[in-house]
Symmetry: C2
Subunit: 227 residues, 2 copies
DNA sequence: AAGTGGTCTAGACCACAAA
DNA sequence: TTGTGGTCTAGACCACTTG
């Protein structure tokens, strides 16, 4: 009895070796199942896995073909910053910088799809690894989700508090480079204009805006993954 | 008859709503299948999908529990640069800058796990969107995979040629920020020291090094995705 | 030892898109 | 209309892990 992962591996080997060249239509599931010696359901699972990862294009009636221009997908894990630091075997520390209700700039309203310019809770904080600045967290927060009374960010970062209390939201994510401004120079102790890696994340809960955050990392930070 | 995606959606709703709180063990598959009115195989497929995305932790005998500190995963598509430009409804153009055999610096040898410092093919090129600099491609290439005779990068970029001819390799990927050096200033027509978003990618074919490339994007570039 | 998820199978029907 | 992938089902057995 062959596992679908075995079948998948064999099929992938055919693709990589060129036995099934890019663009070519491969036999139907039923035939392949017979050839590989498994049930069609097993074959289906294997091929679907390859299709999910961009190796194959499948269409009902049209059959299955090897992707000609495969769109490679990279998966990044977006962890809690404390865990991220601890994974590097460093000691995490955290310092709250500001926490107050403020009227947000238009860009933030647009990201959160806030029509009215209601006041939002602005939280800025610094994360440190082994005592050195690691990341600046600059956040706008819908106070309905984290009332100042309930959520105190003096000890636990907003980053971590939200992961624990407002889990499983949806949203957008962007990676980019930005120069260090005065505030970042002060917190990260880097040169003015230094190239910094940054992440913008905006999250919603069933259409209701929760938070918009910019994480700016100290110079030299790299976000890495395997393909 | 319920589809596994319907079941998945219902289960996800329970997680998001807090009906199944973080850290809590949920009923066994067989019971859930009965409750949801589907076969266990269908239930399994739905739950497995949620586990793959980090919503659930599943263990044989241990049961299934809602992840307490979910590791959110972001999926980025790494397209061919030409397609990336054309998706933005811009016109793509390409200019080869250099293409010659050179002894690579140690950092490149290390990335490619080349013990001997054999000569590699170095290809640098500029991609343009609507005539404006979009991205600089700086590549070290194992000549065994792309002999100068076979692979001519005057018209088709190495980026695209490799996707077509050396498909389906594995490797590493990193995103980071870097300041513009003299070469980048000249090609991207940006200010010296400007913050630029960059991608390092190193690929192997069954352990054999193929290529190591740095893509550096013009100022303002953002790599975006949904969560 | 026992209970849970992981998977396989065979057969069936459905949904979609190409002919 | 027809052929392909997409999915469901019921039952079975296996593999891992916990007690």
């Amino acid at each position: 009895m062959k596992s679908w992962q075995t079948v998948r591996a064999e099929a992938l080997a055919r693709i990589r070796s060129g036995a099934w060249p890019p663009g070519e239509t491969i036999p139907r599931e039923a035939d392949l199942a017979e050839e590989f010696g498994c049930a069609r359901a097993t074959m289906n699972r294997a091929m679907q896995s390859l299709a999910d990862e961009g190796y194959l294009d499948r269409r009902r009636k049209g059959g299955t073909r090897v992707a000609a221009m495969p769109v490679r997908k990279a998966v990044f894990e977006i962890p809690v910053i404390r865990q991220q630091v601890e994974q590097r075997r460093s000691t995490h520390a955290y310092r709250l910088v500001t926490d107050r209700l403020t009227t947000p700039p238009e860009a933030v309203c647009a990201a959160l799809k806030f029509g009215s310019r209601m006041q939002l809770r602005r939280v800025t904080a610094l994360h440190l690894a082994d005592g050195k600045p690691f990341c600046v967290e600059d956040r706008w927060l819908n106070p309905a989700f984290a009332p100042p009374g309930e959520a105190d960010f003096a000890e636990v970062s907003a980053n971590e508090w939200l992961v624990r209390h407002v889990t499983y939201s949806t949203g957008t994510l962007a990676f980019y480079a930005r120069p260090a401004n005065a505030a970042l120079v002060r917190l990260l102790k880097c040169a003015h204009g230094a190239s910094l890696f940054a992440i913008d994340r905006t999250t919603f809960d069933a259409g209701t805006p929760i938070t918009s955050v910019t994480l700016t990392y100290a110079p030299g930070y790299r976000m890495e993954t395997l393909m």
